[in-house]
Amino acid sequence: MDDRALVDAVLGGDQRAFEQLVERETGAVFRACYRILGRVHDAEDATQESFVTAHRMLGTFRGEGPLAAWLARIAVRHALRAAARRRDTVPIDGSSADVPTSPYGDPLAGALEAERGRLIRAAVTALPEPYREVIALRYFADLSLAEIAQTTGRPLGTVKSHLHRGLARLHDRLVVEVSS
């Protein structure tokens, strides 16, 4: 079933169609949320909120781009908002993110990987709009530039310009973070 038919079925009240939509897109939405938030539980909550919002706003889907890109934009927005909320809180266990297990079983490599990921997430979430959204959609949600342009309604040249400037700002922030 293509995107338009799936959306029409959900809008018509077909619960089975919505379950199919959730099963098909949960993986991509969850990964995008996890890359922004760095925690499985937070990513689960953001994924659930994203699907609830998508179900409520499904009538606004115009079919200009893929449904996965439309969902990814909602998920990225929810995850970025959750990351901004979480910036002011400190977890009880002291860890800011799940430490990934190193494939080689080296705890030092795992800690370095976690620290690198924390720096990247902090630098991306601290970017101003629209650079933050474009970079998150491109690298965390795995969307192409054309899909970003379709989903956000911006010209392709504008998306490229935003990506270039966003990378430049991200570079400056990362240099400052690493040097400090």
Binding site: V52, R56, A168
Partner: protein, 274 residues
């Protein structure tokens, strides 16, 4: 990052290098094809982001899809107004401002900057809201008016008594009919001002040939004295005495030799007052 570094390590083909078997040096590369350090740094950042994304590839926990479906089903109860709108409006109505914005964009021109697109969206939203408000207000006013009319008008109301007699358009009354109506009309002189003038006015010129119409004397009295002002308004009560001012035909002279009797005793006001 490694590609950029490897590209930088490779010596450039220009700068005096000679092609094998050629005596002329090769043309140097154009400046655009050289690696910009800023681009290299940005490419490094992009590669770092891609590496991070490739490392963070967890699978969603089992049961997440079922949890999402149940959460959507048990969504928090919405406000009654929202539920009423959802029930009353078609499911595609949230897409209406977007569709109007597309039309506006097509009218203004495609490929415009983002700010114009945002303005178009806002203008479309305002336009849709204004039209919806106008239509809703009209329907509401019409419904309220019909309801009020149904409540306040239980039955036919009696016709209100009119103080003005109905105007009838018909043939002009004959003289006989006019004479029968004449006394009642004569009782109200103010109702017929055209009948009182000009003989009722004190400044009316006397007919020629009368004995009191002496030249040089003021008009109105035979001997020059002014007539009382009240005589200008004749009383509707009929007076038995002949009056020079109210008598319709002064052709017959008065029996009294002096005009004083005429002026004082014949005053219709005095006769009315007594």
């Amino acid at each position: 990052m490694s590609d950029a570094r490897a590209r930088r390590d490779v010596p450039p083909a220009g700068d005096g290098a000679r092609a094998p078997g050629s005596r002329l040096p090769l043309a140097p590369d154009p400046p655009a094809r050289r690696e910009d350090p800023e681009d290299a740094a940005l490419r490094g950042v992009a590669a770092e982001l891609e590496r991070y994304a490739a490392a963070a590839m967890p699978e969603p926990p089992s049961g997440l899809a079922a949890r999402i479906v149940s959460a959507v089903r048990a969504e928090a109860p919405r406000s009654p107004v929202r539920r009423l709108l959802d029930a009353a409006l078609p499911p595609r109505w949230p897409a209406l401002p977007g569709a109007v914005a597309d039309v506006l964009r097509a009218a203004v021109g495609l490929g415009k900057p983002v700010a114009l697109g945002v303005r178009m969206e806002a203008a479309a939203l305002v336009l849709v809201l204004v039209v919806a408000t106008a239509v809703g207000g009209t329907l509401l006013a019409g419904g309220a008016g019909a309801l009020l009319a149904a409540i306040t008008a239980p039955g036919p109301t009696p016709a209100a008594p009119s103080t003005v007699p109905p105007r009838t358009v018909g043939p002009i009354p004959s003289p006989e009919v006019s004479s029968s109506v004449a006394p009642s009309l004569a009782a109200s002189p103010s109702a017929r001002p055209a009948e009182r003038s000009p003989r009722a006015t004190p400044m009316a010129p006397a007919p020629a040939g009368l004995p009191w119409a002496t030249p040089g004397a003021p008009l109105g009295t035979p001997n020059g004295s002014r007539a009382p002002a009240a005589s200008a308004s004749p009383s509707p009560s009929p007076s038995p005495l002949p009056s020079a001012r109210t008598s319709p035909e002064p052709s017959e002279p008065s029996p009294t030799p002096s005009g004083e009797g005429q002026a004082t005793g014949a005053s219709p006001t005095e006769s009315a007052g007594h």
